[in-house]
Every structure is written in C-alpha cells, then in structure tokens.
C-alpha cells in the first residue's frame, strides 16, 4: 500500500494546476490538497473538481516539480508506520536543498507562503535561517543583496547601541 503505482494511476483523481507562467501540471488529488490555497478553492464547490484549472499566481513552473515532490514525499513520511528513520527524512531534505541558490530558496518561500502550507514554509524558512546563522552583518547584507541605506553616522550610532550583540559572530 505504498504510493499509487503507474498502472492504477488512471483511477486516481487528478487536479490541474496552472503555474504563474501558464504551464499546466496534472497533480493527484491528495497531493494537491496538501496546499491550503488549492483546497480552499474547492470548498463548497466539490463537483467542479474535474474540469477546473487552479491558477497559482505566485508559483513559477520552475519550482513546481520540486514543490510537488516535497509534498509527495512528506505526506508519505507522515502516513508510514512505523515512522521513517530520521536519517531518511534528513537525507531527503538535504537533497531537496542541494544546488538551490539563495534566490531560488527565496522564490520557493514566496511560493510556499502563497500555497499556504505550513510544513514546507517552516522547512524553507529554517533553511534560509541556517544559511545566515551567526554570520556578520556584512555577510547577511551581501547574502541577500540588502542595500544599506543608513548614512555612516546613523550606522555608527546603531552599531554602538547594539555593541553587545556583535560578540560571537563570524568574521567576514
């Protein structure tokens, strides 16, 4: 009783999702329902499911396969008895983040926020935090491309006020 095999997939109800750039994705109903945004689309409108295309305005088709893969795997992890070993989940999560640039990570956070899925959003925001943990101010600015709009005097003042917090950060 693992995930549906290819031979039975014809019986599984599918929902069509449309990414921001217009590309369509056929997704198994339980996977699509992982996304609160999609779910709320059908509340009180269950009959329409078959032919409706759900537009996902803030999700680029570039990230759809990875996001759907996350839902499929994590919903399987949740259902499995006994629960999967922590290393297996960790290995999946690490592989998921591998080769993702900071910008791609940010775009996926926006997508997860729009799709309203707590699990994915938690996972991605923690990943972003890990990339800046204990890094210097300059590092964090460069990492996220933040433009420093303080005058040198203003910055010096704020730095002096927060002197206590600079202790223990990585050097640049």
């Amino acid at each position: 009783m693992a995930s549906s095999s290819s031979s039975s997939s014809t019986q599984v109800k599918k929902i069509t999702l449309k990414a921001a750039d217009g590309k369509h994705f056929e997704v198994e109903e339980p996977v699509a329902m992982e996304m609160e945004t999609v779910k709320s689309f059908f509340v009180g409108n269950e009959d329409a499911m078959k032919d409706m295309v759900v537009p996902l305005l803030n999700v680029s088709s570039e990230h759809m396969p990875a996001i759907l893969d996350f839902y499929r795997n994590h919903s399987e992890f949740r259902k499995r008895t006994p629960p999967p070993p922590a290393e297996e989940v960790k290995a999946f999560n690490e592989a998921f983040l591998e080769n993702k640039s900071d910008e791609q990570l940010m775009e996926m956070i926006m997508a997860a926020n729009f799709l309203n899925t707590k699990e994915l959003l938690n996972f991605l925001t923690e990943a972003a935090a890990n990339r800046i943990k204990n890094k210097s101010v300059e590092y964090v600015r460069a990492f996220f491309g933040i433009e420093n709009d303080f005058t040198p005097e203003e910055e010096a003042r704020i730095r002096a006020e927060n002197e206590w917090a600079f202790d223990g950060l990585d050097e640049d």
Binding site: M110, N148, A165
Partner: protein, 161 residues
C-alpha cells in the same frame, strides 16, 4: 533568462514581514536584534519582531561584564518601551531565563520588562529564575531571596495560560 543586478537587489526584503519574522525565529535572539543594522526597512522589521528572549547568552552573567550588561539592559528596556508606546503589533512571546537573581538592579529591570511585555499584550510569557541561594542554603530558602512577581502579572488579560 538572466536577471540584471538591480532586479536581484534586496530580494529577501521583498518577502512579507511575517515571513521575515518567521526566518528570524530560527536564529539566536542576539542575531535577530542585530538585523536592525542591515537597513532602514530591517530596523522597522526588528522593532515589530514579536518575540523577546532574554537569557544567559545575552546577559553576560559574569560579574566582570557588569557594565556591558547594564548598557544592554538599558537598550532592551528602551526597545520594549518604544514598542509599547508606539502601539506596535502585540507581542507573541516574552521569556527571561537568568541565574542572576540576587542582583537588585536586574530584578527591578525584570519587573519593568514584564510590565512592558504585558502592556504590549503579550500572549506567552515564560519566566525562569534560578536563585543562587538555593544551592548555597541547605536548609530551605531565606524569605528575602524570593523574587516577588509584580502583581500586574495576575491581572494580565492577554496571557494565555
């Protein structure tokens, strides 16, 4: 398609503030406070950050750092006070964890902070005090080593127990 440098600038600041706060929630409190130095927008984001966590890692409990500690306490108090005065978003969590409870100055600081937190409609408050004297006195606590919780705590409407 390749994006130009200007399009890439400040991509994280485009994220809505609740998401920025969510990212910050995984960082040590000290580093969260530091984000106010990043830019003007981030300074505002820090001011509305709904969690306040004061513990050993930021209190420099060693007696030698007393001066730095007092400076820090002043800063934290001011931050809390500003929040309440400007009617910023209500506070989600406020926690204090310290072993330094025979320090009168710190005790009165904690009193005031608790009042500010309650003034900001804090939802969760966690106070952990470890009294040195607990270990020093083998036969029971001396009455004067107790810390009296400000009575306002008992009538705080917003705190979920």
């Amino acid at each position: 398609m390749k994006k130009t440098r200007t399009e890439e600038v400040d991509r994280i600041s485009e994220l809505p503030e609740p998401i920025l706060h969510h990212i910050l929630s995984f960082l040590p409190f000290k580093q969260v406070a530091l984000t106010c130095v990043l830019s003007k927008k981030w300074e505002e984001t820090w001011k509305r950050y709904p969690v306040f966590k004061i513990d050993e890692s930021i209190l420099c409990e060693d007696e030698r750092y007393r001066e730095i500690r007092m400076k820090l306490l002043n800063y934290l108090e001011q931050t809390l006070q500003n929040r309440r005065c400007k009617d910023f978003t209500s506070m989600e969590k406020f926690s204090i964890d310290t072993k330094l409870f025979d320090d009168q100055e710190l005790a009165s600081f904690v009193d005031r902070c608790i009042c500010y937190a309650i003034g900001s409609n804090v939802k969760m408050m966690k106070l952990e005090f470890l009294l040195k004297r607990w270990h020093e006195l083998e036969f029971g606590l001396r009455r004067d080593s107790w810390y009296d919780l400000p009575p306002i705590v008992l009538c705080a409407k917003s705190v979920e127990v």
